[in-house]
């Protein structure tokens, strides 16, 4: 086992709505990413995967609030830190973020180089501007961006260039963990592949130590990440290697999600997921028992009231279900 | 639709604006029922009679008399009959005899009289005061004593008898009172009269109605023109779009009020009825609506549901009515509301320039303002002639804008608090 770059232990965060109601968007999530590894998080929209990404940054502003749990980056626990210290010493340097909509992630009226200067100065106010420019030019060149792009405003760049610029800015300080939140959802397939390739290259070159990929496009995850986690209603329901998760999903929800990509080959790749009927539970009042029970084909009466713990099985695998692994596999085999 | 309405009525801003506007409308409808009559009728002869209740003096002398001995009657009488000059003279005397006047309030009649009793001495001859002035104080003292004594005063009413000689017919004592209900003519003017002697409140209610109608007509004209041009330019596109946008751009830059002034002037005073002014206002303010409708339609033009309708061979009118209009309806309603409020304002500004509707038919808020300014109501203290007008215009436009902000927050959720 490699060195743990990011450890999340029993993290709980919530949104407080306009009407002062609590929405438990991340409810007790634990996992680890090792050095040189990548992890994918999949789930329907609204399952809390994007919130999890925000929560892992350890930097909270309304309406998101921290409740409990630990976030340990390269051995340093950041969950108890004061927000300004997190801002200064963690964000961008230890953990960095590539937002969902790269198109609008850059301030339209600022030159890219000024923004990069602001980012670097936020952590090291004394850094020389010439040095920053050299740094930026180098990273731009590595991502196939012309140096002139630095002197442009975001609006003057094309969609693909904006995406690459965002990657360059996010990784300019060589963060240990890079979180990409659906970095490709706004791009066409060719650009998606390019973005993924670039991120892998950055990791291979050692600029970033680990990656976390968040998407609802499962075919994409299989090609990119070492491990996959499936999230449902604020909790993890299953975790395993990409191979295992795709070919041998255990939890009924993952099973439903993965069914359509059993053969990740040309022709079937773009196939739409078969929809699972029903809607996720209201996270203002999460159910006591299994959160998926209401939509689960195999649910028994006890699923609805007994709390379901995460259960380890095999190596590096976890699932959250009352039924046994073999029992589930047998049910799936009979379908 | 129902759901949208419910959402709209959940917006506190919209509801507040709606309530103010409906209250104004109700007042406009109900008040003429209570107080009917021509709002332009000149009931007063002088200009700017103060707000208050007017009792016919003539009728009052004929009404049955009751006797009251009110303890503060004499003092009140003194208070209103003591002129400012007399008061100033009294203060001058106090100063001359060395009384402490640092915290003296000249409006406090009781205190003034008390001090007068204390300090006035007919035999005193303050230094430097001329004899004529001393005599004046003697007379002042006498009249104060008489008025303050409280009884025995009376006014005689005399009428000529058959020989044409005045003969006392009635004596009015200072303890005589009449019940206003028994006086034949009592007129309450909550907002006084204007420079022509008209009842301001009645005029205001009627003017508000006219101004709102002007705003509505202007809004309808502007919205119809803007909507039609915007739909044509946006949906048909091509050469038609180029032409319409050319015209629209020109009229966006040429200030609307300049056009308004020129057109209104060209029409001439005689032809300028309220409806004509409203239509002219509408004709000069459609450009914003046209531009925004166009850009919205362009973004809708290639949506799936529109393409589907096109493929199904639906007519242009049907596509516009069923596939485009419902999507821009909220926007058009908001633009209409703004047009109404700016139409009311435009009428007022035009009238202030002397280019408003002709003055003989109906009052409008702008005309009332114009009259008040022409007769210097603002410099001679007749606040009732202009302030209610300003307040009404502000309230109408405030309520319309509140509704608009409310709608905006419902339809553009990023602005929501």
């Amino acid at each position: 086992m490699g060195k743990a770059m990011l450890e999340v232990k029993n993290l709980k965060t919530k949104y407080i709505t306009r009407f002062h109601e609590d929405v438990y968007a991340v409810d007790g999530v634990s996992f680890t990413i090792e050095e040189g590894k990548s992890l994918g998080i999949a789930g329907e929209s609204g399952c809390g995967k994007s919130t999890l990404a925000l929560s892992m940054m350890g930097y909270y502003f309304a309406p998101l609030h921290y409740i409990s749990g630990d976030i340990i980056i390269d051995g340093k626990n950041i969950s108890g830190m004061d927000p300004d210290t997190v801002r200064k010493t963690i964000l961008g340097t230890e953990i960095a973020y590539i937002p969902q909509a790269a198109m609008n992630a850059l301030n339209p009226t600022q030159k890219i180089i000024r923004f990069i200067e602001d980012v670097v100065h936020a952590h090291d106010p004394k850094k020389d501007k010439k040095e920053i420019r050299e740094m930026a030019e180098k990273r731009f060149a590595e991502l196939g961006l012309p140096a002139e792009a630095l002197n442009k405003h975001a609006v003057e760049l094309s969609g693909g260039m904006k995406q690459r610029t965002v990657i360059a800015v996010s990784t300019i300080l060589n963060p240990k963990v890079l979180i990409a939140d659906e970095p490709s959802s706004a791009l066409d397939v060719t650009s998606q592949k390019m973005v993924i390739k670039m991120m892998r290259e950055l990791m291979e070159k050692g600029y970033i130590k680990s990656m976390l990929f968040i998407t609802h496009e499962l075919p994409l995850l299989y090609n990119v990440t070492d491990d996959i986690m499936v999230m449902y209603a604020g909790q993890l329901v299953e975790k395993g290697s990409a191979e295992q998760m795709v070919f041998d999903p255990v939890h009924p929800y993952s099973h439903g999600l993965m069914k359509s990509i059993l053969v990740p080959e040309e022709g079937t790749r773009g196939q739409k997921l078969t929809a699972i009927p029903g809607a996720p539970p209201n996270l203002k009042r999460p159910p006591d028992g299994c959160r998926f029970a209401a939509r689960c084909k195999y649910a028994k009466p006890e699923c609805r009231y007994s709390a379901i713990p995460e259960r380890e099985f095999e190596e590096n695998r976890m699932y959250r279900c009352l039924m046994g692994v073999d029992e589930l596999r047998e049910v799936y085999g009979n379908e | 639709m129902k759901n949208t309405l419910r959402q709209v009525f959940h917006s506190s801003k919209f509801v507040a604006g709606f309530i103010i506007f409906v209250a104004i409308l109700l007042l406009m409808i109900i008040y003429p029922l209570i107080n009917p009559g021509n709002p332009l009728q000149q009931i007063g002869v002088g200009t700017f009679a103060k707000p208050g209740t007017y009792v016919s003096l003539y009728d009052a002398t004929k009404a049955p008399v009751s006797t009251f001995r009110l303890p503060d009657a004499a003092e009140k009488r003194l208070g209103t009959s003591l002129s400012e000059e007399d008061k100033a003279a009294m203060v001058e005397w106090f100063e001359a005899v060395g009384a402490d006047i640092s915290d003296l309030d000249t409006n406090d009649t009781e205190k003034m009289l008390e001090m007068w009793d204390e300090y006035y001495d007919p035999s005193a001859k303050p230094k430097g005061m001329i004899r004529a002035k001393i005599l004046y104080y003697g007379r002042l003292d006498k009249s104060l004593k008489e008025m303050g004594s409280g009884d025995g005063d009376s006014i005689s009413i005399a009428e000529p008898n058959e020989e044409g000689v005045l003969e006392e017919t009635k004596k009015i004592l200072d303890t005589d009172y009449v019940n206003t209900k028994e006086v034949a003519n009592v007129k309450t003017l909550p907002l006084g009269t204007d420079n022509f002697g008209r009842d301001v409140l009645k005029e205001l209610v009627s003017a508000t109605g006219t101004s709102i109608r002007i705003g509505l007509i202007a809004g309808i004209v502007a919205t119809l023109i803007g909507l039609t041009l915007g739909l044509l330019a946006g949906y048909v596109g091509g050469f038609l779009d180029d032409i319409i946008m050319f015209v629209t751009n020109i009229f966006t830059v040429i200030p609307g009020f300049v056009l308004l002034i020129l057109i209104s002037y060209s029409i001439g005073q005689e032809q300028r009825g309220a409806a004509v002014v409203a239509i002219v206002i509408g004709f000069t303010s459609w450009t914003w609506t046209a531009r925004s409708v166009r850009s919205q339609v362009i973004s809708l033009r290639n949506r799936d549901h529109v393409n589907l309708s096109k493929l199904s061979g639906h007519s242009l009118v049907r596509i516009v009515l069923t596939d485009i209009l419902p999507y821009i309806a909220s926007y058009v309603v908001m633009a209409f509301i703004l047009q109404v409020s700016s139409g009311i304002l435009s009428e007022a500004q035009l009238s202030l320039l002397g280019l408003g509707p002709k003055t003989t038919e109906v009052p409008t808020l702008g005309l009332m303002m114009n009259w008040a300014m022409l007769y210097s109501a603002h410099t001679n203290g007749s606040w009732w002639a202009y302030f209610p007008v300003i307040l009404t215009i502000t309230l109408i436009s405030f309520s319309l804008n509140l509704m608009n902000t409310g709608l905006d927050q419902v339809f553009n959720p990023t602005l929501r608090d």
Binding site: F61, T109, V155 | T394
Partner: protein
């Protein structure tokens, strides 16, 4: 730079076309008046003169002076030619002063009053709007309705209220004119003092009117920007909130420049009416007296001058805006 020249050229072309249309409208509209203006003027000037042939003589003379005996198109070119030379003919109401002379003596007052007042109002309104958006709680709840309400007080209403409160009751500042009525304009301390004290009320009433609308617009713009993706992204890169607020306000402020360009016509309209209330010796009062005395060459000239002023302002703001906002630059300059 090439892109910029093209942008500039395009804007300039628009400016020229709009200008031509404005001149044409300005020429045609008053001539559409159903009554013969020359006849009505003759009637007015002839007064009690009952000698029909004398009246006809006067009518002929005026017809010649105005050139109404010429065909419309010829009249138009004559109008343009004269206008270029600054010749707008003679004023009727202030005979024998020329229209250009009257305008020359009032335009300075209007520019000196309105330009600073509108700019100060715009700036203050934006600052208040930004504050309201940033602070939100409390201030927003109080400031916004107040600003909305103030923004809805019509320009003339605000002028009258200011006049009554500060001029009539508190007697802080004089209520009418551009300087004391017993003075003759000349360069002296007394005169400048008088001008400044007369400047106060019209200036502040225009400022206050401008604040309301701008503040409300700036607030919505700032809230929109505060929710933009780049704000979140910048935060997660560790940039200080204070710096991000700087980005937001810059971005929210820039469209307000367009807002100013769009509303400058309306604002000047309101301000002209405010001038009338204060009898300020500017174009507004000139136009008012022209309207009340049916001085048709003067009306025509004032509206033309105001149109030109608005056009120039809009043009300049457009140019500035294209220059300072890269979003527009990107869209327009290629």
């Amino acid at each position: 730079m090439k892109g910029y020249r093209k942008y500039f050229g395009k804007k300039l072309l628009w400016f020229v076309i709009t200008f031509i249309v404005a001149v044409i409208l300005n020429f045609i509209l008053p001539r559409l008046m159903p009554a013969d203006p020359v006849a009505s003027i003759t009637g007015k000037l002839a007064g009690g003169n009952s000698d029909a042939s004398a009246v006809a003589e006067i009518y002929k003379r005026y017809q010649k002076e105005f050139g109404t005996d010429l065909p419309m198109i010829q009249q138009f070119f004559r109008f343009c030619k004269n206008a270029i030379h600054g010749n707008f003919g003679l004023s009727f109401s202030q005979y024998p002063r020329s229209v250009s002379n009257i305008i020359a003596s009032s335009i300075g007052w209007t520019i000196a009053l309105q330009l600073p007042a509108i700019l100060v109002g715009w700036l203050l309104g934006n600052i208040l709007g930004a504050l309201a958006a940033y602070i939100r709680k409390g201030y927003d709840k109080v400031l916004l309705p107040v600003a909305l309400f103030l923004g809805n007080v019509p320009a003339f209403g605000m002028a009258v209220i200011m006049l009554v409160i500060f001029g009539v009751y508190l007697k802080i500042a004089p209520i009418s004119g551009g300087y004391a009525f017993d003075m003759i304009p000349h360069l002296s301390w007394n005169f400048i003092k008088s001008v400044i004290s007369h400047y106060q009320l019209p200036f502040w009433s225009i400022v206050i009117i401008s604040i309301g609308g701008q503040a409300v617009g700036m607030r919505s713009m700032s809230i929109y920007e505060l929710n933009a993706d780049y704000v979140k992204y910048s935060r997660f890169l560790g940039i200080k909130d204070r710096k991000i607020v700087g980005y937001v306000f810059r971005n929210a402020m820039l469209p307000q420049v367009t807002g100013l360009a769009m509303s400058i016509g309306t604002m000047i309209g309101g301000a002209l009416v405010a001038e009338i209330i204060f009898s300020y010796p500017g174009l507004g009062s000139t136009m008012y007296s022209a309207v009340t005395s049916a001085d048709y060459p003067l009306i025509s000239a004032t509206t033309l001058i105001i149109t030109i002023m608005v056009l120039i302002m809009t043009f300049l703001l457009d140019i500035i805006y294209g220059f300072i906002d890269p979003r527009v630059k990107a869209a327009q300059f290629e």
